[in-house]
């Protein structure tokens, strides 16, 4: 039965996150963007809210709630509304926890999932993107070669969030032409973390290049224990997560520019009283809502354990365009004020532009 109403429990969680982002994240996000770092206490507070351990099974120390992509989307939107860098940092361990939960072997679950149910933030990350303009997640240049009872990985990765501090990395490589995940622990010889990257946006999030030079990992590092088709599902989770985050960023920009347009006077009345501005805002509102609903639908399909590739892919593409359109217009509505760093809209435009690149960098 069709319904657009989050459950009471979901709404409570959304409210809780909104309180956190309003009271804490929004107080410091500009500073974080300028300084390129996020204070540890923010991450700790967020960790205590249980974004990840809530959906991990009780047998591994989690709260055992359903791993719902819809719930994940709702929370990801709220976090990204607060700040995208912080949202990606807070949810970064999910890049390992979620794929292991969805496609890992029992042994992998037993070994790794308890790490995400500890009291302290567990740094972990995934390495998917490669430094190529024609990067294709379905046809990776990073390779995994079977060698005895090991795999040997070679290649270059980029946009690996928190690579320097991560205890566990899920590295995606091409094994006989298909993309597979490999769980690699920190300190494995041949796994080299490069310099921290300098990006246009998400500047508070530490991302790194990663090099794999004859990086040898045991057979049981292969996610799922065998060559499998779990990669599509992992990608779809990421697409849904990023679409939800795009909605969050866009909503932040929309709200700010709407409020500004009502305050700012020109020719004797608020600029929002002119259709040129009002219609821009109306279109922004429509596209934000439409993208959110499409995201929910793709998430719903994931939750039904059906192939959600078409829905997730189309939604992500739509969200990429939407967030750029909305954040650009937010800057435009503020005019010159939108271009200066005293206002946040330029930050949202920089962050918004990244979504077309971020595939695989966040999940729920």
């Amino acid at each position: 039965m069709i319904s657009f109403s989050p459950s009471e429990e979901q709404q409570m969680m959304v409210n809780m996150v909104r309180q956190f982002t309003t009271a804490e994240v929004r107080k410091i996000y500009r500073e974080c963007d300028e300084d390129g770092q996020i204070p540890g206490h923010i991450i700790d507070t967020a960790w205590e809210m249980g974004f990840i351990n809530s959906y991990l099974p009780q047998e591994h120390g989690g709260l055992g709630e359903e791993h719902s992509a819809i719930t994940g989307s709702l929370l990801a939107e709220e976090l990204a509304w607060g700040d995208l860098s912080m949202a990606m940092h807070i949810l970064c361990p999910a890049l390992v926890a979620s794929p292991i939960l969805e496609t890992g072997t029992d042994e992998q679950k037993n070994r790794y999932l308890p790490m995400f149910c500890q009291d302290k933030y567990q740094p972990a990350t995934a390495a998917l993107i490669e430094p190529l303009f024609n990067f294709d997640p379905g046809s990776l240049k990073t390779t995994a070669r079977p060698d005895g009872s090991d795999y040997v990985l070679n290649g270059e990765k980029c946009y690996v969030p928190l690579a320097a501090e991560a205890d566990i990395l899920l590295v995606y490589a091409s094994l006989d032409g298909s993309s597979q995940g490999f769980i690699i622990e920190k300190g494995t010889p041949g796994l080299e973390t490069g310099e921290r990257e300098k990006n246009m946006g998400i500047k508070a999030l530490a991302t790194y290049e990663l090099t794999l030079k004859d990086c040898r990992v045991p057979e049981d590092s292969l996610l799922g224990g065998r060559v499998n088709s779990g990669f599509d599902r992992i990608m779809n989770y990421s697409r849904v997560a990023l679409s939800a985050m795009a909605v969050g960023v866009a909503r932040a920009a929309f709200e700010y520019s709407r409020d500004y347009a009502k305050e700012r006077h020109a020719f004797g009345e608020p600029i929002a009283s002119r259709q040129a501005i009002a219609f821009m805002l109306a279109e922004m509102a429509i596209e934000i809502d439409a993208t959110r609903l499409m995201t929910w639908e793709a998430a719903w399909k994931l939750d039904k354990k059906e192939d959600a590739t078409k829905e997730a892919y189309l939604t992500k593409r739509y969200a990429d365009d939407m967030v750029l359109m909305v954040t650009d217009r937010a800057v435009q509505i503020l005019g010159g004020h939108g271009y200066v760093r005293e206002h946040p809209v330029e930050l949202w435009l920089r962050n918004g532009r990244g979504f077309a690149t971020f595939d695989g960098m966040a999940t729920i």
Binding site: Q10, P137, G138, A272, S273, A278, A290, M294, L314
Partner: protein, 401 residues
Amino acid sequence: MIDFELTPQEQATIAAAHQEAEELLRPISRYYDEHEHESPEELINTLWERSLAGGDTGGMLGLGIGAVLRIEETCWGDAGLMLCNPGSGLGGAAVLSTGTREQMGRILARFNEGKPKWGAMAMTEPGCGSDTSAITTTAVRDGDEWILNGEKIFITMGKRAIVDSDGIVVVWATVDKSAGRAGIKSFVVEAGTPGMRLEKLEKKLGIRASDTATIVFDNCRIPFDNILGSPEVRKVEEGQTPGFKGAMATFDATRPIIAAMALGVGRAALDFIRETFAEEGLPVRYGLPRHELTAVERDIMDMEANYKAAKMLMLRAVWLMSQFKPNSLEASMAKAKAGLAVTKIAQKAVELMGPLGYSRKYLLEKWMRDAKINDIFEGTGQINMLVVARRILDYSREQLK
């Protein structure tokens, strides 16, 4: 709980409507496009009998998800023929949203018996469209009667309502010009009332199977009780005018329906492209990185995503209505998005199909012409954007003109 699962009943409704669209509408679609103002009698009788048997000859108000998706499916068959569907239609919607119980019984009973009938809505005039406050048609009280004078245009199914059947037309008129919006009331005029005449039928770009009429009221006398809502002219605050509120409440119900109609036409165009591509062995490859997509794949994916965006907004607006929650903002969002998105989808489809798209051998060019109406009637795209803008800004009509 957020859910997108259709109930088995809704699925059955859609399947039946799809079959009906394929079997009854598509085969005669081109004929009635090329023979404007001819009436598809056989279809009308079939549909009427089916709806009588199903006990469903109601208006466009209070429709649930299943009913609205059925409308999408029917418009996938043919939007013009869908509008020919007998029933109380927009006129009925006005009666249901603003009428009394007595009026509903007295006026709407005809739609459950006898021969096919239609209910139409007469709002637009030669000098005013979206600005309904500028209505010049007058209603003057004379004892137990109202006397109507004026000219109404663009009345969808106007001819079928008052000439071809024993239907009704709901007429918007002012009882007090000086009162502005507060003076605007709606009146039910029954077919055959002296002083009401069909003046003209429009020749249109699309939806040619549906008639679009001009009706003139020349000292047309109707019973006093045929006024919908209160006859009193109360000068109340802007936005609270009761007569006007009635019209707006109707729009909340009808705009999502227009969005659904638009989506039906858009999906017809999309399906045509997908089938043609499949026959030619050209897949649309979801999941590829951007640089590997062909320009045509990009176009199709954009069209599909826009269709889905509009559909989600439409479903939300209908769902809110079915929950008896306010949906003015969401209804206008859905209508604005669907009207424009589908217009663009159909236009792009003609481009992508090249000579097949432009030829009248196929229905695609017709769908492009049909699609455009959804960006216009029940409030143009711009009017709906204005409604959305006022709502999100919390502005009155004075603050945002």
